[in-house]
Every structure is written in C-alpha cells, then in structure tokens.
Amino acid sequence: MNTQALCLNDVTYCYPGANKPALEKINLEIRSGEFIGIVGANGSGRSSLCYTMNGLIPHSVGGTLEGQVVVRGIDTHNSTTAEIAQCVGLVFSDPEAQLTQLTVADEVAFGPSNLGVPRERIAWLVDESLKLVQLEGLEKRNTHSLSGGQQQRLAIASVLAMKPDILILDEPTSNLDPKGTYEVFSIVHKLNQENNTTVIMVEQQVDLLAQFATRILAMDNGKIIADGSPEKIFAQVELLSSINVQIPQVTQLFHELDQSNIIHSEYIPVNVDQGVKVLEPLLKKVPY
C-alpha cells in the first residue's frame, strides 16, 4: 500500500528576522511505511524540515513559509497544529524537557485529553500506547524517575496516543547511552514493521540508521543534497565528507579498500551483516 503520507512542494522557509533561508526549494515525497533517516551537520536545516512537517512551522515559530506542505492531503497552511498532531507526531531530542506531566499515565493521556477524547477511550489509548513501547506496568511512576531511554519511549508513547501514522524523531538518541539508544531504535523499527508507521528520523548515529532505514536524505545549507537508499547515499563518500556528514565505519572500510586497490566491490555495504556477506567469499578459509 504505497499511498502518499507527506509531500513538500517547493518549500522555502526563513526564520523570523533571518536573512538567509533555513530551507531552500525543498521538494520531497514520502510514502506510507518508509523509514527515512535524515543526516547533515548542525545548522543544515534538519530540525526546520521536521517542524514544517507537523505545522510548528509556520504556526508556532512564525517566519515566512513559501510553497506547500501537504500531510495526508491537508495543506499545513490551512490547518492548525492540533489537527496535524493527529496525523504527525514529533519526538524531540531532550527527554526531560519533553515531559510536562508528573506521572507516566498522565503524560500519555495529555495529548488525547487536549483533543477532548472521551475518558474511557483515553484509558484504552494509554494502555495500548504503553504496550507498544514496552513500558506497561509503569503507569504510576514519576516521569523524572525514569531512565533516559525510558523517557524517550514514553515520549513516543505520548505521541502514539494521538494515533498519528507518521512519526518524526529529531535526534532522539543524542542524550542517551547505548542501551537507551538501542531501545529507541528497536521500538521505532518495530512500529515501522508491524504497524506500518512512517518513520522520519534525524540522527547522527549513521551506523544504526544504515541498519534500519530504507531511505536516507542528506542535507546541507537548507537543501536536500542527496536522496536514496542507504547503500546509494553512503557510498558517495566525497560528497558526504564535503557536507560534514559521517559515513558508517563499514562503508569507510570499503572506500579505503577500493582506494588501495585491495578489493573493488560493485555493492558497497553499509552495515556489519552486509560487510560480512561481501567479504566472506573473498577471504582465505583458515582450517581449524
């Protein structure tokens, strides 16, 4: 089912008072069920792009937004953030700053109660959302007593409770330890696979993105420089280096193997398993 989830047409955006655009002539089409990773250095426009997708730009942040952002057929110029929040959920990078309520259950219930959803349905939504992020049983816990990974999963749950089918995450793991990072990626991957949730994730962890994402957007200076599968994008080593984006270590390896004339491979692996598949047939077999 490849229906269109999100579409940006010729979008250019300037923050209030800025003379240089944060986003320039963005054209982008996102289909349901994709898992998109957005990479780029700080200041390249990644967060701004996320905010246009859920209406924070232009409604909360202000500034001038040219072009069209269409979410599930609705133009964001003509709708409110509250309406869009039911199609698109946004998770921010600071786990603590996102939590506005005292208990876990209240945090998940916050969004739906703002929308006037009846109380019985909210109770059901809280149950279901906490199960989806594997936090069931923690309803009465104080939100600030959770670990970073748990807090981010809670943020995801509170977004899911409004039943969007598009989930945007802006550097969700930057303040987390490896365990928490892995928790977030696993949950997001599961939602994408089992519930067909469209995932858009801004991340620095290119190794993990290369493992889970189906499509990568590389940004620089407010523009989308490259758009394609992880294999296609991360193979463009010089381009990514020029826009200050890291590549997965495995890809770096194959780039150097190629440059040193040790191994030339048509297919450039971007993660460990792919790397094993390509290298095994090319190496000696050491008998026991």
Binding site: Y51, N54, L56, H59, S60, V61, T80, T81, A82, A85, Q86, G89, L90, F92, D94, E96, A97, Q98, T100, Q101, L102, D106, A109, F110, G111, P112, S113, N114, L115, G116, V117, P118, R119, I122, N142, H144, S145, S158, V159, M162
Partner: protein, 284 residues
C-alpha cells in the same frame, strides 16, 4: 534528589479537595494579619506543624524552606529589635543593655514587633507548604480551573511549580561546574559574587527549556479549540464542606473580635522573653 515539591501520601489531608486547602491557606494568611499580637500566629503555626507532621512525617524537616524558618525568625526579630522606631524601653541583661555601635540598644517594643512579623511570615510559609506538599500539581491545576480561572493560566501555574525542583537540580550542577573553575566561596562577598556565574547559565537553560516545552505543548495539541477532557474528577466531599465552613467561621470570628476589642497588642507591657509570645502579665 526530590523532583517535586509534593510529598506522596494518603492522609486525610492528601485526600481533601485542593480548593479546601486553598481556602485554609488564604484564611490563615488573612488571620495572622488581623491582630497585633503573636498568639494567633502561634496557634496557627502549631496547628500547621501538627498537620504537616501528620501528612508528611518527620521528612518535612529536611525541606530547605522549613530549615530556613528559624533563620528568618532570628534575623527579622533582632533587626527590628535594634532599628524599629517604636522602641523605647531597652532590654537589660542583668543591668547591662544590649548595645551595638551605630544601631543603639535593643528595645522591647522593637523586638515585639519583629517577633510578630516573623511569626506571621512563618505562618504564611507553612500554610503554603501544606497546600503544595499534600496536593498533586495536576489536582491543584484542576482546582484552580474549577474556581473559574481559564485552564491555560491554571496549567501555567502548575508548570511553574514543576520547574522549581528542576531549577534546583540544575543550579547544583552549575555551582559544581563553576567550582571546577576554582570559584571561591570563602567569605560572604565571594558567595554573593558567585551568584553571577550561576545566574547566566541558569537563565539560558530556563529559556531554552521553555522554548522546547512550548513546542512540545503545541505538538501535543495543547490549546486546541475543543473542551479538554477532565482526567481527574475532583469533587467536594462532606469533610471538605465542613472544613471550609470551619475556616471561614474562625476567620469571621477573629474579624469580629478585632472590631470589638481592638488589635489586642501588649507591646507596651512586654518586659520578658516569654512576654514576647504570651500575655504573661495576664497570668500574674
């Protein structure tokens, strides 16, 4: 590190409607200003302390604000003792007055006024603590909203309350960070100057957090033009009605007493330490 001002529990005080406790707080605050003697404040303070011990237990004495109260009482009382213009009768220890250069002698009348004021402040502080310590923030927000104030403003109040422990934690980290730059805090002057490297990071952090919170609220459809679903049902129970009537009755009683008998001050006859707090001359 405590993350809220609220002390979880299940006492009768915890179960009261937040509006009842708000009425208690306001009645206490008005009552202590009606008379010009410390007795009313002392009674209120004793009741509040007993209530706090019942609701929270001895943990309440670890609260920074509670620990600050004796300092307030001492500072305010002694200052007024020396500088208040109503002072006429010097306090004598043996036959020596208590004298400070430039400030003069400590006077009974001034000390009386100082004790008065500090007890009033103490009662007000304790009344607010009772409210905040036994009421969950979200219940308080609901209570304020039910009193007619629009939900937006009520929830801002709730969020500000929640910010206090977060700011406390952040302040501790910032102080540690600046100590690592050999910040000195050896004397009072240095301690005051040390507030500058604390203030800027704290302010910047608060503003950044406020910005993120604003965006998060929007992204969670806060402020949508629909009626919010009330998650908590707070209702006034019979006990709430009884207590509210009781508090209002006491307040009205005190006001009537004031009108009939004046401000009940015994400032002019204070001549002993206990006389500052109790009308000892009546017992004689």
């Amino acid at each position: 590190m405590k993350t809220t001002l609220y002390y979880p529990g299940d006492s009768i005080l915890h179960r009261l409607d937040p509006r009842t406790k708000m009425v208690w707080m306001i009645c206490t605050m008005i009552s202590v200003f009606i008379f010009y003697n410390p007795l009313v404040s002392i009674v209120m303070i004793i009741v509040l302390i007993l209530a706090l011990l019942y609701a929270v237990g001895t943990d309440i004495f670890k609260n920074a604000l509670i620990q600050f109260i004796p300092i307030i009482i001492l500072t305010v009382s002694i200052t007024h003792g020396f500088v208040n213009p109503a002072g006429k009768t010097p306090i004598l220890v043996g036959s020596m007055p208590i004298h400070l250069p430039y400030f003069g002698n400590m006077m009974w009348e001034g000390l009386y006024i100082g004790v008065q004021m500090s007890l009033r402040i103490t009662a007000v502080i304790l009344a607010s603590i009772i409210l905040v310590a036994t009421t969950k923030t979200e219940d308080m927000v609901s209570g304020i909203a039910k009193l007619g104030i629009p939900y937006q403003y009520a929830s801002f109040f709730g969020m500000s309350l929640q910010m206090i422990p977060i700011l406390q934690e952040e302040a501790i980290i910032i102080v540690q960070a600046q100590r690592a730059r050999a910040l000195r805090e050896n004397n009072l002057w240095e301690k005051v100057m040390a507030l500058v490297p604390l203030f800027v990071p704290l302010a910047v952090g608060s503003m950044q957090r406020a910005e993120t919170t604003a965006m998060v609220l929007e992204a969670r459809a806060y402020g949508a033009p629909v009626t919010r679903t009330e998650l908590r049902v707070i209702r006034l129970a019979p006990l709430d009605y009884v207590l509210i009537i009781l508090f209002l009755a006491v307040l009205i009683g005190l006001i009537v007493t004031r009108i009939a008998y004046g401000n009940l001050s015994w400032m002019d006859s204070v001549r002993s330490f206990w006389g500052l707090f109790f009308p000892v001359q009546l017992i004689k």
